[in-house]
Point group: D2
């Protein structure tokens, strides 16, 4: 932590800050310049973060030196984490894991039809929403428990790993009873009580990035889960909010290599929500894979016109098949499998 | 709703869309131009919103005509809502309501000291956090139930209305038992289950705008609460996330007159979180009042250096006193009270 | 400047950096911590800014300590600058200067009509565009030299200070021959050759903030003008680009007190371009004044329906009159004049 | 164009609007709904764009139906444009064109050294800045004419196409005399006079996207150049400004397929400026290629530590060589050449 003093800070103010730093058990290093004096504080920054140094008289600004996260960092664990999703599927290794399925589960028949279609193309992870966070209270909110039952039934029938969103700390136990992977949606990335709740399970957690969260905040939210003892976290970039309105969100493809540098956790990409348009899913999926992601989560629907949620961003089976074929060629070029 | 067809849309595609629109009980109006054909659909847009028109073959884009919210709108209720906060305090009327207090409740003595200080300046609403949403799992998370007890005790002693945040749907009943006004924080603006839960109470709800939420989304979140039967919603602008990093967030002062045009609900401003710096609170408070807000929520601390949360953005009593004096002069110039 | 070394930086890398810093005539201070070593460099940061320290092996990041601007800063000049606009009008003092007029000059008659209208309300500065930067090559681009002539004629007739935009370094001499104040538009805030050109005149320069420029970059652009010897710069906040689309841009009202803290230059606000809607101009003008700005620049048109540019954000005379009346009351409350 | 009337618009207001629309030679189609009346206007939208419909009494909002650009659109020209850069290099075809070189030209020797290095790896286009737009007036501003001479000399010696930025309309003729491709930098994307000036040449123009420009505005800026008769425009995505600060800008990789859908012009990507960090260039280059771009422009420097501009984002030759090898494998997987 570096404390930059105001130009006109008094000796008394400086002495007071130094004294306070020492009381915390830390060592201050003072460097006096012509225009500013700075105090470098060596030691664990966590102690300092809870002290509002910027409120001290004479302080101009405080510059942190260390990242605020710990357990999720590459410094804590140098080798990349590989996470078992169940049914023999592992993410974070050479294989790029494709998760696919409808945005919302509408009924058993359509879900099964979609699952069969994607399984045929090699997909081993089925996604589908039972609890849907919707901007409008008047929109379809998902089938709830009934949707979970359908998802489990189809997953069991076809031997596929299942992923679904949990929105409420009260539902964690319920949802965990039906599904292999728990998804935390973008709007809940900083729902800290929900993070703690899923951190108390040992289920793999798919943590979507908040639509206006920095990479640092995203990693801090993962830290919540790890700090509860659950290290099975998969990060998911799904587009951030910017001024550009051609796409629904702006896919931050740089977040993929950034996360791989900063953290040992696997990172996947959701091109469907990022783009909001089915005709951008294929190029964005390929871009994400080329950038080094560990997986993709893609909306596929056999009848997008009838979809009760986000039909406009769903791939029809023909297009999904074509995408999978192109990805198979692409992954070889970057020395990975799919 | 206006459906713009692709330039090369076929007659068959158009017929199909028209048929589907009619089946929904709506009336399509076709206008053929040289470059595009458009279909105007007259009728309740809610029916159409659940139909993914953009996924239909031949459709280029869909333009909504009506706002998606209803109960919160000025069209639904033309006169401005006045909300009773209890203890004789009403918001939305001529009087500008100042809410003040510490970011987090640290202990009974400091809370009482702060409350006494602000009460002396005419403040009748005391804010203080018992449950604190913190980016880091290692930061002070608030005193929880103990904090609620202190808040109630001081509120009762001094006859002040109390406001505190509720973060978890499981805590709504608990928090509602201790406080007059329930606050939904920016990070929970789209925690829809929490919105429904507070909508089921009749408590006044202070709904903070999400840091990257549009005004429309913010009003939709209020709509969730109203749609559960609770019309006592106060909107709170607290800064949005932009590229500018001199301030912690960018106070969107335009949101004040925008909300007053679009909605009958009262709107207040939180200059402390918007700025992140105590020395911007005074000018931003005055700007908010001049723009027409119905209240302010301001962090005040008697010992900001010792504050366990956000000390750097808290006003000390002297500065708060000066601000209140300036506001007293200002409100007269805009024909309001304080 | 503070150089944070990578965790695994070698002694050799550190020695090399220290040696380079010393060669530049600066003094490095090394602080070794458990997790990181940091090198504080005391001395003029300009020398270091041209050295790409982040490219050095072993460097994790570089944290600047000083602001990159100099002449525009309060540290360089503590008292606020007052700038003479001509015809007895001074900006930066107690009086809030209102500049008004049409977005684009359409013809002599309309310009004169508008000028007479606003002069009657006490406005002494007439704005009007002769060269218009337009997103589309097919939009009206302004009358050019003819527009300048009209502006000068009306300014001379009515004894009003005139302001108009210059877009091209080749036009600076021409425009300076006709007008009292030269405006640099938002899109040209980082047109550095244009900044140098206007810096070489002694005309007052109205420097609009770029729509996605930080306050720091804006001050750096002003620094370009001052560094050429022209200290007559007026900064103009006109809204920044964010995700919010209810307003055309988001008025960053915090920029007003921020600039007043950081710089001695006067700062004004353009509510018309910020909002893009005439019905927000009044509340935003009042907010800007309450926040401490030194002036306003407002679009007024007697026939907004016929305006060739931005009619939708122009005030009609009745509304402008009402705004001026309200401002007259407001400025007294903040101890200023208008 | 669709005109949405206010809920309480009068018949008189509607008649007036219809009359005005008819006078412009256009055909209004009125659709009356329960909640709103809308007027669809069929015909060339350009005529309507210059009429400020939103300023008309009774109008709530105006929704454009057609894109505002014309010559750059796929509707105007369905097949992708292939642009001759000279010396046998063509962009927009199967081959992905890599442009590389230093950010700024420092002297002849270093430029030649870098050019030789990249040529050896198959690069046929040499970039280098002679005029540098710099945020600070105190930073190195480029060698100017001397830099142009060095660039031409090295380009001629090695038979490489040369690209350099032109910042000032007065310099277009000079720069065009020395270089094969003229670059318009991000800060000048809406320097409309400069766009017209380069539009008057027949040189290939590399048009960088403004850091906060929408895709639509970027295409409008290209339209300026095409509307002057120069169809040789290459679009360059270089990152947009967002709240994320891990990268200098956020590479909007979706812009690549978006531009390919909307326009016939080739699009390339600049990963160096987008990331601001050399260690992200490789993954971003691969992502861009996988997303379908027609080329890359990459900063390479043999001595990044000594670079006078942006050393931190330059690749050293070893890393550039590795990137080129990886790209050679990758392009085959997407059926292109390099």
């Amino acid at each position: 932590m570096i404390i930059v003093l105001q130009r006109n800070a008094t000796q008394e103010q400086m002495d007071y800050i130094i004294e306070r730093v020492k009381k915390l058990g830390l060592t201050p290093h003072v460097s006096r310049g012509v225009e500013r004096t700075i105090i470098g504080v060596i030691g664990p920054e966590d102690i300092l973060r809870v002290t509002p140094l910027e409120a001290f008289p004479g302080v101009e600004k405080v510059l942190p030196v260390l990242a605020p996260y710990r357990l999720v960092s590459r410094e804590f664990k140098a080798e990349s984490s590989i996470i078992e999703l169940g049914k023999g599927v592992r993410i974070g290794d050479r294989e790029i894991i494709v998760m696919a399925g409808p945005c919302a589960i509408e009924n058993l028949e359509i879900l099964r039809e979609i699952a069969l279609t994607i399984k045929e193309k090699g997909v081993r992870v089925l996604r589908g929403g039972a609890f849907k966070p919707r901007t409008s209270p008047y929109s379809f909110q998902g089938l709830g428990k009934k949707g979970l039952e359908y998802l489990k039934q189809v997953g069991d029938e076809l031997g596929m790993v299942t992923v679904t969103e949990v929105m409420d700390p009260r539902d964690v136990e319920l949802v965990a009873g039906y599904t292999d992977v728990l998804q935390i949606g973008a709007r809940n990335m900083q729902n800290f009580n929900l993070l703690r709740e899923v951190g108390a399970t040992q289920k793999p957690i798919l943590l979507k990035r908040g639509m206006s969260s920095t990479i640092k905040e995203w990693l801090m939210s993962a830290e919540y889960i790890l700090s509860e003892g659950n290290f099975n976290v998969i990060l998911c970039e799904r587009g951030i909010r910017t001024f550009e309105d051609f796409t629904r969100n702006t896919l931050d493809v740089s977040a993929v290599p950034a996360v791989k540098q900063l953290s040992h956790l696997p990172v996947i990409v959701d091109p469907s929500h990022a783009a909001g348009k089915w005709n951008l899913i294929s190029p964005l999926s390929k871009a994400a894979v080329a950038a080094g992601c560990d997986g993709l989560i893609i909306e596929v629907h056999t009848h997008p016109e009838e979809a009760l949620s986000d039909g406009a961003q769903s791939l029809i089976p023909e297009r999904f098949t074509k995408l999978m074929e192109e990805l198979r060629v692409l992954v070889k070029a970057i020395d990975r499998d799919i």
